[in-house]
Amino acid sequence: MLEITPNTIAFLVFALLSVGGALGVVVSTNLIHGALFLIVSLFGGAGLFVLLAAPFMAAVQILVYIGAIAILIIFAVMLTRSMTSLSEIFNRQWWISAIVAVVMLGLLLVGAILPVWGPSGTNAMLPVSDAVGTTVDLGIALVDGNQFVLPFEVASLLLTAAMIGAIVIARDNE
């Protein structure tokens, strides 16, 4: 059976946050609450990344998903106020999501139980790529002239352009 180590405890906590948050998103009748639960769930996911020794992914999860996307959802909910209190949590398309959820779960279970991935999987013998590195490696790669500085710079240019564009379109004609 499971050994009780600090790692296991942490895993249980994060898993609980993740699954519980997801459950909260589904059952809460207030969309604002739902969005807040989503943040909780995403935070749990970030914790799991930390446990998997992927601190960068954890940071991205918090910065991008919680910091940007979840906040965007809350903004969107607040701008469409009539949706803040719902009496029904099911609509006529519930069965579609049910099918999708069941299929996804099935796939995950198949992946987890059958020997495809993991130590007993067929690809287990493949060496892990050298490119997988630390946050420091990643940071260097983005600004190193030998690696990805050009795409990085072009990406920042395009974000600038997108920002200008958003302002140009949104600005009133003075």
């Binding site: 260097i140 795409p151 072009v154 395009l158 352009a161 200008i164 564009g165």
Partner: protein
Amino acid sequence: MLQLPSLETLNMGAALPAISIAAWACILLLIDLWIPKDRKILTVYLAAGNLVFAFIANLLVFNQSGDSFMGMYVADQFSGVMNLIIIGTALLSIVLSFDYLKRVGIERGEYYVLVLFVTAGAMFMAAANDLILIFVALELLSIPLYVLSAFRAPDIRSEEAGMKYFLLGAFASAFLVFGGAMVYGATGTTNLNEIAASAGMIIASNSSTSLFLLLGAALLLVGLGFKVAAVPFHEWTPDVYEGAPTPVTAFMSVAAKLGGFGSLLRILVVGMSAVTMTAGEPAVWQNVVAILAGLTMIVGNIVALSQANIKRMLAYSSIANAGYILMAVAAAGSPGLANEATRGALVYMLAYMFTNMGAFAVVIAVERANGGADLEHFVGLGKARPMLAIMMVVFMMSLTGIPLTGGFIGKALVFATTLNAGLVWLAIIGVLTSVVSAYYYVRVIVNMFLRDAEASTEEATPGYSTGVQWVAAVALGGTVLLGVLPTLITVLTDRVSLVASITP
């Protein structure tokens, strides 16, 4: 730990034209804040000056080919020629824009900054030798174009154009990224040279990995097919072209195609030419591209027949022209023909650039204040503005492919390379659709010269300005010069060699 490489190892000089435009765009954004609203012509001069600088810089480094940024950016003669065409497009459209923006009351400095961004994006696309750079460059090209399409914002058609272009463009980007990911999954690299090195082995091994590679290549083709408006990924084109401000339509009908075809040629010719069933045979993508080319020419030309609005007609014409360039791309799949086909495509694109910019210049002159530009508005133009009308005749003739214009040279080279590749059926579709296209191009001429104008109180050319006149004249010069003395451009394109730039 982090060692900053010196400028020499980066070989930034080779990438100078593109970098200078990108950097100046950011600086111009700040400068523009201090330029008063009634003197925006200064912004135009500053933007144009930068383009002229980049043009000259590009000529200076033309023969100084080499990798820049360690294989990310390849400055070879291919990107050299592409850059010349792209910068030319940007210059002409900036000159076209100024009076137009003033006329419709959307004069803002950001416009020129965005044009510079698109230009830099297209140049990066043509020179990118890495799937990651291709993706971000594509976005740098696209996002400002979405904004430019919606630049006439309160106007509902312009907003619709921007929105439609954005949604479908985002969709196309997703395809491109997904395709890139699959190719990366199959080959373990995003660098085109390395993809080329491993692609042949993967296909030979006939494992499931080759399926990923092919699927990835197909998705890349879909993503770029959207950008160049190839059938069946063309649905957005007419609405966007019609709704966008006309100088933007002119600009994007050329710039987006240039960027898209630049990347497409690099991906397929440099990265995927080894993807063959048996060595020495044409690449497997040849037939796919050939079918796309055939469909694009047929649909573009036939639907164009029934258009009453000149911008929609030119939109379908631009779809059709994408088909002719795709013909050359397909021919590049035959072993030993890659260079010839690439050169043909380059000459075609140059001719298309001059011709199309000229045609849109005339459209801007004729366009009504409410943005309407119907074929009917051309009636009597031959009497009202004979010079402008005669220029339009030349542009229409060039689009049809009548000799002594650049359009003929482009078509002749493309057809020749298609025949050499053994794609006779495709060449026949090409010429037959050219005849179809003659019908709707000639209709413009009929309206200008052959029909008598009814007495009209409207002015024939409300958008006429010196800018329009200059652009039309330059485009005319380019079109005719290319048609009469094609050696002027072939001395440059003759050195283009996409395959030889592989240094795995």
